[in-house]
């Protein structure tokens, strides 16, 4: 397809509802030929795998990390590399890595050499840490209680060797969400971070009536903490019921909740989405709060280390973080990580009862 960007754009020419181009346009010939007819694959090194078709054809994928936030300069560089070694074919993964799709085996090594030379981080395939699914953070979102890209950066720096070389018992999926809207899969990740608030929204009574709808605002509150304040043509918040989730702010700009000193990061662990072995699992609260300490959030990194190292040390091969914790039990999880168990860890919302230990099955840890 020859792409055109005319100097003068006639907006009336715009076609609507055409949808995306057909995916076939972007598939390398070897994939077109063997589409749906793959036999197996082999992971040759942490950043290289080969898929073998029933026909005997092969395609090599070289994976490199991406910060997801990419400049056009970098994208052009990627396009150039792909052209040089892959006939221009590459893709992104569902976790934002870049995969160079090589049809000619002889080009694999030169490609990897050039990537290494250009300081691309090769890896992420197999039982290891891959890229971090994340969100906008302070870069683009009005709702963010923490930055997202920075957390990704500091965590990936810390565990870089588990992307490029070392193995973990099974894949470790990290995720970051900058607020409790949780744009991503934080609620089902091995180790994840979510930006939280700890103070009541501040009600801007003046602007409420212009900017916000009463019923929507009330309905947004998971705990029904919001009631009308007819006198002020605004709302009241029942401080006892508010759990600082910020959903009211999502629907009503007159309820700002961000607070530099009290916002921060919670760490949740043990979620997964695949159906292998155990059914998909939610992440559960590990650390209720760590402060926002830009630029490198050392507390978050340190706490993660404790969890990660305990997992590496304790899990059996193929156990995901959540499976490991289920096996050893939460009392042991808190014991081996040294993280404190606090009132915040005990659920007190809709499904609270289902999380209580209705059994005497206990392991003694003290």
């Amino acid at each position: 397809m020859p792409y055109v960007i005319p100097d003068v754009v006639d907006v009336k020419q715009r076609k609507t509802d055409i949808g995306p181009p057909h995916y076939k346009n972007f598939l390398p010939p070897v994939i077109q030929k063997n589409y749906g007819d793959w036999k197996t694959h082999e992971i040759l090194s942490p950043g290289l795998m080969v898929h073998i078709a029933n026909s005997g054809d092969k395609i090599w994928s070289v994976r490199v990390a991406s910060p997801r936030l990419l400049s056009t300069d970098t994208l052009r560089e990627i396009a150039d590399i792909a052209e040089k070694y892959c006939d221009g074919y590459f893709r992104f993964t569902t976790r934002n890595n870049i995969e160079f799709l090589v049809s000619d085996e002889s080009k694999v090594k030169p490609l990897m050499d050039e990537l290494t030379a250009k300081k691309y981080m090769i890896g992420g395939i197999g039982s290891r840490v891959s890229n971090i699914v994340h969100t906008q953070g302070w870069i683009h979102c009005h709702s963010a209680a923490v930055d997202a890209s920075a957390l990704v950066k500091v965590i990936m720096d810390e565990f870089a060797d588990y992307f490029t070389t070392k193995e973990t018992p099974n894949k470790v999926r990290f995720a970051v969400a900058c607020c409790t809207n949780m744009c991503g899969a934080v609620h089902c990740s091995d180790i994840a971070y979510v930006g939280i608030h700890r103070k009541l929204p501040r009600i801007d009574h003046e602007n409420f009536k212009n900017l916000c709808e009463l019923p929507t605002t009330m309905a947004s509150c998971p705990t029904a903490a919001i009631t009308p304040d007819p006198a002020k043509k605004s709302i009241k918040i029942n401080a006892d019921k508010c759990m600082y989730c910020g959903n009211c702010f999502s629907v009503c700009p007159s309820l700002p909740i961000a607070d530099p000193e009290n916002d921060g990061v919670a760490i949740v662990v043990g979620g997964k989405v695949g159906n292998l072995r155990k059914p998909p699992m939610f992440s559960k609260l590990a650390v209720a709060y760590l402060p926002n300490t830009p630029p490198r959030w050392p507390e978050v990194v340190k706490a993660t280390r404790k969890i990660f190292d305990a997992y590496i040390a304790g899990a059996k091969k193929h156990e995901r973080v959540g499976e490991w914790i289920e096996r050893i039990g939460w009392e042991k999880f808190f014991a081996v990580t040294g993280l404190p168990f606090t009132f915040q860890h005990i659920d007190d919302w809709t499904y609270a009862f289902k999380t209580f230990r209705t059994s005497t099955q206990i392991k003694w840890v003290k």
Partner: protein, 402 residues
């Protein structure tokens, strides 16, 4: 020359092995005022530990109700380049495949109309073009369409469907994830571009229960490939794995949730009638085991983030559906559920929340689906439930106790 800001805090994030988003921003900042001011603004956020974006703001292109996220800085005075800083969501190609040519097109396009900053990709799957001004939206959309691209979804609409790499490069894909995604996206262009639902509706398709697109965690409708035939076993390959040091008993047999595998050191046997189709044995012995037809998909409904009722995972509504073009069965199902949701859903109520509020029975009846045990982990425990007048007349026990 664009403006320059001191960014001592952000500079710290150029250190370390992982590619730096700050470096990317600096690259863009060198060419774009917008990107430069974005960088300055972000440094200020880092200093003050707070976001400086204003709440929402509706912008868009003619004829569409979504595809653009309006964004304005609170500090437009200090950082005029980000006074407007809208996001454009472009519908990605199924499977996230690109060519260099296409990528260069996006670069040219975005250097011309935007900040030069992008996300490949947004969490929903869109190409995210980060940072442009309202005036640029119409020409941008026009150029996109001239080149075969279209905007993705936002707001209370069907959102851009996405999928795993599937049959394009994976031996386990039991359905054509790319084609299903493409086909449904085309079929529902109107619902994608013109918000008309109570809230957002996401569809994600994956080729097998491994779920490499996290569809069960973040799609209102999760379409997950599966199989009904026995698992085919290449015993030699299993033995090869054993020789190469895989402990078949510990790594495979003991982890099987169906407890249906045995291994005597020579022969691997699977009692397929107890298999839960979890993919563990298949995935951990690649090439040695494989699913056999019939192939189809499990349909699951209702995953979403925590608001308002708590995070949900999708749950089974059709244990097995054949997935052949033109995919009429699934399309009809989707239309039926949308009709019901449009009628009964409250503003900002996801379809899963509505089902939980009104009960599975109504949902299943509307969709013409029979209740089956596969829909539940376990039946209810408390002895309270509803009867319809018509149920009272029936005497099903005369049948099942015969």
């Amino acid at each position: 020359m664009t403006k320059k800001y001191d960014t001592p805090l952000l500079d710290e994030l150029e250190k370390g092995p992982f590619p730096s988003f700050v470096t990317e921003m600096k690259k863009a900042a060198a060419k774009s005022e917008m990107a430069a001011d974005e960088l300055g603004l972000l440094e200020k956020s880092f200093r003050d530990k707070v976001t400086y974006w204003k709440h929402g703001g509706i912008v868009g292109v003619r004829g569409y109700g979504g595809g653009v996220i309006g964004r304005y800085s609170q500090l437009a005075d200090q950082f005029p380049g980000v006074a407007h800083f809208h996001t454009v969501r472009v519908n990605q190609p199924s499977g996230l495949f690109y060519t260099s040519e296409t990528m260069r097109f996006f670069c040219d396009l975005w250097d011309r109309y935007g900040s030069g900053l992008t996300n490949f990709h947004g969490s929903t799957g869109d190409i995210i073009l980060l940072g442009t001004v309202t005036e640029n939206l119409e020409p941008l959309a026009t150029v996109l369409s001239m080149n075969g691209f279209d905007l993705g979804g936002s707001g209370s609409a069907m959102r851009t469907p996405s999928c795993c790499v599937g049959p394009a490069r994976c031996e386990w894909s039991m359905i054509d994830t790319l084609d299903i995604t493409y086909d449904l996206t085309q079929e529902f262009q109107d619902e994608l571009h013109r918000p008309q639902f109570p809230y957002k509706f996401k569809i994600k398709t994956v080729g097998c229960p491994v779920d490499c697109n996290a569809s069960i965690a973040r799609a209102d409708l999760s379409i997950i490939g599966t199989w009904k035939g026995p698992i085919a076993i290449d015993q030699d390959k299993v033995k090869d794995f054993a020789k190469k040091g895989v402990n078949i008993q510990e790594e495979i047999v003991n982890f099987c949730p169906g407890k249906c595998i045995t291994w005597d050191g020579n022969n691997l046997a699977i009692n397929n009638s107890d298999c839960l189709h979890c993919m563990h044995c298949i995935a951990k012995l690649p090439g040695a085991l494989k699913p056999t037809p019939p192939f189809g998909a499990v349909m699951l409904i209702g995953a979403k983030a925590p608001f308002v009722i708590g995070a949900t995972l999708s749950w089974v509504i059709v244990p097995f559906m054949e997935m052949k073009p033109p995919y009429e069965e699934i399309k009809t199902l989707i239309r039926n559920m949308w009709d019901w949701w449009n009628e009964y859903g409250k503003n900002r109520e996801r379809i899963g929340e509505l089902i939980i509020r009104r009960g599975m029975r109504e949902f299943l009846e509307v969709c013409g689906l029979e209740p089956t045990p596969e829909m539940v982990r376990e039946p209810r425990n408390d002895p309270f439930w509803f009867w319809k007048e018509e149920d009272l007349e029936k005497k099903p026990w005369e049948e099942f106790l015969k």
